[in-house]
C-alpha cells in the first residue's frame, strides 16, 4: 500500500512540470524532483489519496524533513571533525612544561646535563638574565652539533648562530622543536638575538661535545658567546 502510494505521489509530482521551483530534494533514484517549499506535502498529493492515507503522508513528511536536514547534518559533522582535528594538531604540537626537579634545577643553574634537547621549562617567557660561557672539552672531532630551541613560550623569537663573528646560518625562529646546526669544536660560538617576540628572547642550546644544555636569553641585537676550548 505504502509503495503504491509513494509511486502515485511521484507520478503526480513528475507530471506537475510547471510547479514553481523554490527547493530541491533528491529522490532515491537520483532524479531531482521539484517541491515548492511554500506548500506542504499534503497540498501536493492528489486529494483522494491524501484522504485515504494520512499516515503515509506523515511518513513522507518525516522523510522530506530528514532529506532537508541531511546537508546541515553532513556539514555539521565536517565542522566538528575539523574542530577535533585542530585540537589534536594544537595539543600534539604543544609539549608540556617539564616540572621535574631536574627542570627546576636547570632553571636555577641555567645549565643541565640530565635534560633532553627540546625540554620546555616555562609556559611564559621570563627574563633569567644572559650569560657567556667557556666550555672546556676533550672532544676528538673538528665539528660538533648544537641544538637551539625555545624553552619558554613559542612566541616568535628569532636568533642567529655565528662562529667567530661570521654567521653559519640564516636567522631563524626558535620553536620548541630544536634546530640542529653544525659548528667547529674549537672557537667562539655566538647566539645573537634578532627579534623579540615578547618577554625577551629565551633560548636553550645543547652542545653535543659535552652533552650539556645552557638556558639563556639574548637581548635584541646582542649576543651570548660560548667559547669552546679543547683541553
Amino acid at each position: 500500500m505504502n509503495n503504491n502510494f509513494k509511486k502515485s505521489i511521484q507520478n503526480a509530482m513528475n507530471k506537475n512540470s510547471n510547479t514553481p521551483i523554490f527547493d530541491t530534494t533528491k529522490t532515491n533514484n537520483n532524479q531531482e524532483v521539484q517541491i515548492p517549499s511554500s506548500q506542504t506535502e499534503e497540498n501536493f498529493m492528489p486529494q483522494e489519496e491524501s484522504n485515504l492515507d494520512s499516515g503515509g503522508a506523515q511518513v513522507i513528511q518525516k522523510q522530506s524533513d530528514k532529506n532537508k536536514d541531511k546537508p546541515l547534518k553532513v556539514f555539521g559533522g565536517i565542522c566538528v571533525a575539523l574542530f577535533v582535528a585542530t585540537m589534536v594538531f594544537i595539543f600534539s604540537s604543544t609539549p608540556s612544561v617539564n616540572t621535574t626537579d631536574a627542570a627546576k634545577n636547570a632553571l636555577t643553574d641555567k645549565v643541565s646535563t640530565s635534560l633532553a634537547a627540546g625540554t620546555v621549562l616555562l609556559r611564559k617567557d621570563e627574563n633569567i638574565g644572559h650569560q657567556d660561557y667557556t666550555i672546556t672539552h676533550k672532544y676528538n672531532q673538528n665539528d660538533t652539533k648544537i641544538w637551539v630551541w625555545d624553552y619558554a613560550a613559542e612566541d616568535g623569537d628569532y636568533v642567529q648562530v655565528l662562529v667567530n663573528g661570521a654567521p653559519v646560518a640564516e636567522a631563524f625562529m626558535i620553536k620548541h622543536k630544536p634546530v640542529e646546526i653544525t659548528v667547529p669544536a674549537v672557537g667562539e660560538v655566538q647566539i645573537k638575538g634578532i627579534r623579540d617576540g615578547g618577554g625577551g628572547i629565551t633560548y636553550a642550546v645543547r652542545y653535543d661535545l659535552n652533552g650539556t644544555n645552557y638556558f639563556n636569553s639574548a637581548p635584541e641585537g646582542e649576543f651570548n658567546t660560548y667559547t669552546l676550548i679543547k683541553e
Binding site: G76, L82, K175
Partner: protein
C-alpha cells in the same frame, strides 16, 4: 507535551543564537580580513606572526557544528534561511585564509629572501587554487536554500 518541547527547543535556539552564533557570524566576516592584515604584517616586517587561524578553525568548527547537529539549535537555520549558505561559504573561506597565513608564516621562519619569495608564491597559488576549487564546487553543487517553511 509536544508543544512544551517545541517552546523549550525554540528558547534554546534563540539563546544559542544570541549568545554564540551572532558572534560567530560576525567573526566569520572579520577573521579572514584580520588574517589578510596578518599576511601584510608578515610581508612588511619580514617575521612570522602567531598562527591564530588554526584556533579559529577549531572554535568555529565546534560552534557551527553544534548548531547544525543539535536538532533544537538547527531550527535557527530554518528561521533564518540565509544562515546556512552564509556559514557554508564563509567557513571554508576562513580555512583557506588560515592555511595561507600558516604557509607564509612557515616560509618566514627563516630569514632568507628567496625562501620568503618562494613561500609567498606558494601562498598565492594556494589561495587561487583553493578559491577556484571552492567556486567549482559551489557552481556544481549549489548551497541549498534551507528554511522558511518549517512550522515551528
Amino acid at each position: 507535551m509536544g508543544k512544551l518541547k517545541n517552546v523549550l527547543g525554540n528558547t534554546a535556539a534563540v539563546i544559542y543564537f544570541l549568545a554564540v552564533m551572532w558572534w560567530i557570524l560576525l567573526m566569520l566576516i572579520f577573521v579572514p580580513i584580520g588574517l589578510f592584515f596578518d599576511i601584510n604584517t608578515i610581508r612588511e616586517s619580514g617575521f612570522s606572526t602567531l598562527n591564530i587561524g588554526t584556533a579559529f578553525i577549531g572554535i568555529f568548527g565546534l560552534f557551527i557544528g553544534l548548531s547544525l547537529l543539535i536538532p533544537a539549535f538547527r531550527k535557527m537555520y530554518y528561521k533564518l534561511p540565509w544562515m546556512f549558505p552564509f556559514v557554508k561559504i564563509l567557513y571554508p573561506n576562513v580555512i583557506i585564509m588560515s592555511i595561507a597565513t600558516m604557509l607564509l608564516n612557515y616560509g618566514y621562519e627563516v630569514q632568507n629572501p628567496s625562501r620568503h619569495s618562494l613561500f609567498f608564491i606558494i601562498m598565492i597559488c594556494q589561495l587561487i587554487v583553493s578559491r577556484a576549487l571552492m567556486c567549482i564546487y559551489f557552481s556544481r553543487k549549489k548551497v541549498q536554500y534551507i528554511g522558511g517553511d518549517i512550522n515551528e
